[in-house]
């Protein structure tokens, strides 16, 4: 294995501005076996052009870069990446081993000091972390014992199991438990005297050193180009304006078998533009890799532009539990309604009264998968018999269920009434970020009308909606179903149980659990209590089989109780890929976590066949 110099940096190296690649790389680089993955070896060069819709999406370099201490591979298994290895003992003790000679993008060595700095000077500094260390570092409220035996080794040891630790490190948004201490110490009051900090505070127009530190330490959004990174691409432009450039990191730790340092592409060329314009831009060939801002409705335009734009449109299935799902709020404030919503028959009836085929056909050209919320076939937890339960279109049965509940239709009226005489108006609230949702609701309204249920739609801003749900003011919300549609037994089943305020079925129960009973309401429904119990048990389960069993049970409960009413899943997400760009999977799962969208498909391995040609 002989490393080869990157053409982009050849000049710098010849003039001595940068050490040659052999001295830049870690002593133990990560050599990727592309052939084993069925990918081809590429050549370095070229910039990948793409668009984002908002400035804050500049995090995209961290998503596409997807360099994590440990990361998921394409099969969604966790493997070391920045780390040379990680040793786990009983899921309580984690020993992280760094790569010797690994360097930050500015050439400074990456050592255990960087992790210590994070733990001692950031996570446990009351100024920088007013509410203490992050929650994933606490088990039953207790922090770990942390040791730094040498420059390459870090050991975390908890009293009890912490199964979430590694998945969190591999998340789309990683916690960055390592920070460039050599850079950040300059802004930390513990290491830098006040006199030296004062001018910096003034220059950055912030109020104190902590604010300064916070502003300059931005590993995720990479807003500060001066801050070194370990990602394959580092920010070069100041990050102002609408054009962001991320250039290859000369000290990156991954290489291909030929000794070519990854990433292949010299950089990411990111333009901020409004969502409505992205299809127009893409259709004229202005993007090499684009998925953000594209939706299925635009596919005809994208396809018609393929010839002129020199790209191909691929449709990746979405990896969410459901693309659109209705969340009956089991904690709705109105007691009469709450009883109805908690009634299993009601939820089943509503689900049965949705004609998912028409929705699929009208909105997704029939390409999505009709069915309730559940795991997707890609997951090992998938069971076909769970799939269609209570999700077929059967208005008769639905009507019968409602009749059985005593929700009668007064003579000559179109809609039923509640037992207390109020009209059966189901108010569904949506954040209206996708036009499909409104259409789907309209279609649902029609079929629900047939069973005597009136659907009223109300739109609110995403944040407003969320706050209203938490407060129990929303009867039913529309959102996407389960963020992770492809869980494995190791995935935390929190989402399926009333363990967090954030899940729209039971915000108050979730809050109760989260705050250990300080706020919210205790679980009153047996099914929910059972789920809670199972999720707790998952945490202490010793083996994979045990966890799998728990998962199965939870999934069964969900499928049977229709706690969330899913409409369709695996909605096609258009992904536009330039014909010049290689190693991009033909079809893959489009998922935030685990996945980081493109991240786990390793965009640092994507390459241009003709890197010298200007795009």
């Amino acid at each position: 294995f002989t490393p080869r110099e990157t053409p982009l940096y050849e000049e710098e190296v010849t003039y001595g501005l940068m050490p040659p690649v052999a001295r830049r790389m870690p002593e133990e680089p990560l050599v990727v076996d592309l052939a084993a993955k069925g990918r081809s070896l590429g050549k370095p060069g070229g910039w990948i052009r793409t668009f984002i819709t908002q400035r804050r999406n500049s995090r995209l370099a961290v998503l596409y870069g997807y360099a994590r201490l440990v990361g998921y591979d394409e099969r969604r298994e966790i493997v070391p990446d920045l780390l040379k290895s990680v040793e786990v003992v009983e899921e309580r003790e984690f020993t992280l081993r760094l790569r010797r000679g690994h360097r930050w993008s500015d050439g400074a060595p990456f050592t255990s000091e960087d992790i210590r700095y994070w733990w001692e000077d950031i996570a446990n500094n009351p100024m920088l972390s007013p509410s203490g260390p992050p929650r994933f570092m606490l088990v039953n409220g207790q922090p770990p014992q942390v040791e730094f035996p040498d420059a390459q080794t870090v050991r975390f040891r908890w009293a009890e199991q912490n199964p979430d630790f590694l998945p969190t490190l591999a998340a789309a948004r990683p916690p960055f438990i390592y920070r460039p201490s050599h850079y950040l110490k300059r802004f930390h009051a513990r290491y830098t005297p006040e006199e030296a900090l004062a001018p910096l505070i003034a220059k950055h127009k912030v109020r104190n050193w902590a604010a300064l530190h916070n502003a300059l330490d931005d590993m995720f959004r990479m807003e500060n180009p001066a801050e070194p990174t370990l990602q394959p691409w580092m920010a070069v432009s100041k990050g102002s304006g609408t054009h962001l450039l991320f250039q290859r990191n000369p000290y990156y730790h991954r290489f291909d078998a030929n000794g070519v340092q990854l990433p292949y592409a010299d950089g990411l060329d990111v333009t901020v533009i409004s969502g409505g314009l992205i299809p127009a831009q893409v259709a004229t060939g202005k993007a090499d890799l684009q998925a953000e801002g594209l939706s299925f409705t635009q596919v005809p335009v994208l396809v018609s532009g393929e010839e002129g734009g020199g790209y191909a449109t691929r449709l990746w299935p979405s990896g969410k539990g459901a693309e659109i799902a209705l969340y009956p709020n089991l904690n709705y404030n109105d007691p009469g309604w709450r009883a109805v919503l908690q009634d299993l028959r009601f939820r089943r009836a509503l689900s049965l009264a949705i004609d998912r085929r028409i929705i699929n056909r009208s909105l997704y050209f029939g390409l999505a998968r009709e069915g309730g919320v559940g795991v997707l076939p890609m997951s090992s937890l998938y069971k076909p018999e769970r799939h269609g339960r209570w999700a077929g279109y059967d208005p008769e049965q639905a009507g019968a269920l409602l009749d059985e509940m005593g929700l009668r239709r007064p003579r000559g009226e179109l809609y039923r009434t509640l037992p207390d005489g109020r009209p059966l108006d189901v108010i569904v609230e949506t954040a209206e970020e996708r036009p499909e949702v409104t259409d789907a609701l309209q279609l649902i309204a029609e079929t629900w009308r047939d069973i005597g249920v009136r659907l009223l739609v109300r739109t609110a801003d995403r944040d407003v909606l969320r706050n209203r749900v938490y407060a129990g003011q929303v009867m039913m919300a529309v959102w996407s179903g389960w963020d992770n549609g492809v869980p494995e037994p190791e995935s935390n089943p929190m989402e399926l149980a009333p363990m967090m305020q954030e899940s729209f079925c039971w915000p108050k129960w979730g809050q109760h659990y989260q705050t250990s009973g300080k706020a919210g309401e205790p679980v009153t429904m047996t099914v929910a209590a059972r789920l809670l119990e199972l999720a707790r048990a998952w945490r202490y389960a010793g083996s994979e089989a045990e966890r799998r069993a728990i998962w199965e049970r939870m999934l069964d409960i969900h499928a049977d109780n229709v706690l969330v009413i899913g409409l369709v899943a695996e909605a096609p997400q258009p992904v536009v890929v330039s014909r010049r760009l290689r190693n991009v999977p033909e079809r893959a799962l489009w998922l935030w976590d685990p996945g980081a969208y493109f991240g786990i498909y390793r965009p640092d391995e994507f390459f241009f066949i003709d890197p010298d040609k200007k795009g």
């Binding site: 804050r56 920088l128 992050p134 998340a171 502003a215 054009h243 333009t271 409004s274 944040d463 963020d483």
Partner: protein, 341 residues
């Protein structure tokens, strides 16, 4: 006159206080605040790792205090967590959304905003004055009808749609650029001829889209007002003096017809900043408009508050300017001899 201006300036102070309070209240009307929303969002999407920063900021910017205290801290008459840091002290606050001081966010976009809207205003005036005058002189002729039809096509097409159509076909057939105010490669570059050209190139579509509405409105109003004046005897006098037609029109009836437009300057200035919000959003122009909308949506309160306050100040200044101009324009208003009311 000077005394009048000074007096008006004094009146502006209480007005401004009232407005600033209203703004603050309105911004805080939706439940929650940026950071608590962000915290919720991070939790909901399982991004626990982002929380520390948000919590830090929440305390640092006193979002955990009651609203009246927040207002006073914002204004700068109440000590915040790190002393008096408010508008009065020149600290515009922090934009959570952009992750930098408000002053920086606004400073960047303000330039583009001014350029863009200046172009639009210029377009409006350059096109609508001749066209309006022509439509008035040749009232009910084909020129008039054509001007009306074109104007109303602009008015009757939703802005976004118009923008989209112009953009798409402009790009397809004329190679006009889409979105942004300049070619990305000139960003953060020193000013150069190419950069200016690029900006101009990018300005074409937005200017038309933003300007068309105003132009159409102006043409119609100008035509109506001019038609009223054209029959007046003093115009005949000018004719008898041998004043050439164009000059005659501009000097006499046009000046008279200007009155309602001058009174509207008050809204011209702020529209320089905010008028094009939605269009800028659609065309993804880096103006202050999208920043405002985004800030409002996400309750980025210091940013939104400052922009809104800024716009209000512009409104007030614009009204003042318009009153002064009105008096300058019409001596009868300036030297009114009749006491009343």
């Amino acid at each position: 006159m000077l005394r009048y201006i000074l007096r008006r300036l004094c009146i502006m102070v209480p007005t401004l206080i009232v407005v600033s309070m209203l703004i603050f209240v309105v911004i805080n009307l939706p439940p929650g605040d940026y950071l608590s929303n962000q915290i919720a969002e991070l939790r909901a999407t399982g991004q626990e790792s982002g929380l520390a920063k948000a919590e830090f900021l929440r305390h640092e910017y006193a979002l955990d205090r009651p609203i009246h205290e927040q207002y006073l801290i914002w204004i700068g008459v109440w000590p915040g967590p790190s002393g008096f840091n408010g508008l009065l002290q020149g600290d515009l606050g922090w934009s959570f959304e952009f992750g930098k001081p408000v002053a920086e966010v606004v400073g960047e976009t303000l330039w583009f905003t001014v350029i863009l809207n200046f172009a639009a205003v210029l377009f409006v005036y350059l096109v609508s004055f001749p066209l309006g005058a022509l439509a008035a002189i040749r009232a009910n002729s084909w020129v008039d009808y054509l001007a009306a039809a074109v104007g109303y096509v602009g008015l009757a097409t939703p802005n976004f749609l118009l923008a989209l159509i112009l953009l798409y076909y402009g790009q397809k057939w004329l190679g006009l650029p889409i979105g942004g105010l300049m070619d990305p490669r000139y960003e953060n570059q020193p000013m150069s001829w190419d950069k200016i050209l690029s900006v101009l190139h990018h300005l074409i579509v937005p200017t038309i889209v933003i300007g068309l509405h105003g132009t159409a409105a102006m043409v119609r109003r100008l035509r109506a007002n001019l038609l009223d004046e054209l029959g007046k005897p003093y115009v005949v006098t000018a004719q008898a003096k041998g004043v050439p037609p164009v000059r005659r029109l501009v000097k006499y009836p046009l000046r008279m017809a200007l009155n309602p437009f001058v009174s509207d300057i008050g809204s011209l200035l702020p529209s320089l900043v905010s008028g094009s919000v939605l269009i800028s959003v659609v065309l993804s122009l880096p103006t202050i408009g999208p920043a405002l909308l985004e800030a409002l949506r996400s309750q980025d309160q210091f940013l939104a508050g400052f922009i809104l306050l800024f716009i209000s100040i512009l409104v007030l200044v614009g009204m003042l300017v318009s009153d002064i101009l009105l008096a300058l324009l019409d001596p009868r208003i300036r030297l009114s001899r009749r006491p009343r009311g």
